[in-house]
């Protein structure tokens, strides 16, 4: 049953209300278990991914420094990360050409590129931990009824979304800052300017990739009355959509004898398929990927908002 509209609340979208709800949502994110878990998971995953590449490099530098005429961090990084084998691996992971792998490994700090490539795989899943409980918990506890006396549904929905986006930005900046500072001062393989510029672009890529998944979680969160159910469904959608896409691709190739190269567009029906374009060397491709992410975000938000406006709170 729909809630009756309140007479004292504004019936239209109010940026002030959205900002107020977003600010308090972000401020109290840590007080909720979800916000704390997200911060812990994102920091641990981000730093573990970085450690996956940095620790072996540091071990090699340590080992080589003990040998007369051994290589330093710059030489080791260049020798390993800019090798043909790594370039092939990057081409395979990113499903791109040699130009793009050269851009990632030779024109930009290769170590940070490697970290970002793996981090982008984890982002859709880690994002779910921070965004799953935008409204579902309060729907279950009927807590939103108190807010509905003071503002409209659209402001609550958008305010919670913006709050999660802000909290995600803060968490992402914190994690990337630790990684970049560590690479700059401890590893010391790249110039500061290159590292920070590329780090900023990586940060933007993580941010834009997380946007559609936060919007997806906003939609799922207002569909369900349980926050745990919302988390489970968000994670399932993020993971199973990829499995379904892969199975569909395989079946099209095997049954309809389609050329695998011609099915590249299939993966781009999901935000997942655009993630590495966010780190592309061509600014136009990068901009298209950003627009695609914003498009997905808008679509999920509109679907969520449509349901949130109608549902019983």
């Amino acid at each position: 049953m729909m809630e009756p509209a309140t007479s004292n609340a504004s019936r239209v979208w109010s940026p002030q209300h959205v900002w107020l709800i977003a600010f308090y949502s972000m401020r109290f994110a840590l007080r909720s278990g979800g916000g704390l878990m997200f911060l812990l998971i994102f920091l641990t995953v981000g730093l573990s991914v970085a450690s996956l590449f940095i620790t072996p490099l540091e071990s090699l530098v340590k080992y080589d420094s003990a040998v007369p005429g051994g290589m330093d961090a710059v030489e080791i990084s260049t020798t390993i990360l800019e090798s043909e084998m790594v370039a092939d691996a990057v081409e395979w992971i990113t499903d791109s050409d040699r130009d793009q792998s050269e851009y990632l490994l030779q024109e930009q700090p290769a170590l940070l590129s490697a970290i970002l490539l793996i981090l982008l795989i984890a982002v859709p899943f880690t994002t779910c931990f921070g965004a799953f409980n935008q409204t579902s918990g309060d729907i279950a506890s009927r807590g939103l009824r108190y807010l509905l006396l003071r503002t409209e549904r659209i402001n609550i929905f958008l305010g919670r979304f913006v709050g999660v986006v802000l909290f995600t930005i803060v968490s992402t900046i914190g994690t990337m800052l630790v990684i970049i500072l560590y690479v700059q001062f401890k590893v010391g393989a790249y110039s500061g300017v290159d590292l920070w510029l590329w780090g900023f672009q990586g940060l933007a890529a993580v941010f834009f990739l997380s946007l559609p998944y936060i919007a997806l979680c906003a939609w799922v969160s207002c569909l369900l009355d349980t926050s745990f159910g919302s988390l489970a469904i968000c994670l399932l959608i993020s993971g199973f959509s990829l499995v379904l896409l892969y199975v569909l691709k395989l079946s099209l190739i095997s049954s309809m004898k389609m050329d695998p190269e011609s099915l590249g567009w299939l993966s781009q029906t999901l935000p997942w398929g655009w993630k590495y374009e966010l780190l592309h060397g061509d600014p136009m491709v990068r901009m298209t990927a950003i627009l695609a992410m914003l498009g997905f975000t808008l679509a999920f938000l509109l679907l969520g908002l449509r349901h949130f406006q109608k549902r019983d709170l």
Partner: protein, 146 residues
């Protein structure tokens, strides 16, 4: 605030304390077993060989004991403060939690001074103690007053 409902974050922190405390206790038991194995091998080997065994295992007697004691104390503090968070106690929760955070930082500092080195894994290990220190002394400060 103290009489109010416990925030979800504080409950999550308590659960994490029990998880990390339990895993840490297992690690302490494992280290004690390792010491037993090394000591047993040292009884068989000559003095020089025993020293080499210790070095090969990356252990020095004093540092190992300090590590085991610090880890055991951290685990105990984690579990005790976890109970304190659930009951929203000031001493059992906030004080013990703060002590855990300080002990973990101290343990890391001793490890670095002892030659373990500062790596990214060190920072990962510091994430939880630092978060605990910040959260229980700011976000959950008013909730731990019983």
């Amino acid at each position: 605030m103290a009489e109010g409902k416990r925030p979800g974050g504080l409950t999550a922190l308590a659960v994490l304390n029990f998880v990390f405390g339990g895993l840490g206790a297992l690690a302490v038991l494992g280290m004690i077993a390792l010491v037993g194995v090394v000591a047993g091998a040292a009884n068989i080997a000559t003095d020089g060989e025993a020293g080499e065994l210790m070095v090969e295992a990356g252990l020095s007697g004093g540092m190992l004991m300090v590590t085991i004691v610090l880890m055991a104390a951290s685990c105990a503090l984690l579990i005790v403060s976890g109970v304190g968070y659930l009951k929203q106690k000031r001493v059992l929760g906030r004080t013990m939690g703060t002590l855990y955070g300080i002990l973990a930082l101290l343990g890391t500092a001793i490890g670095i001074a002892g030659g373990q080195g500062f790596e990214l894994a060190t920072i990962i290990g510091l994430v939880y103690p630092v978060l605990t220190l910040i959260l229980i002394n700011t976000t959950f400060k008013e909730d731990l007053v019983n």
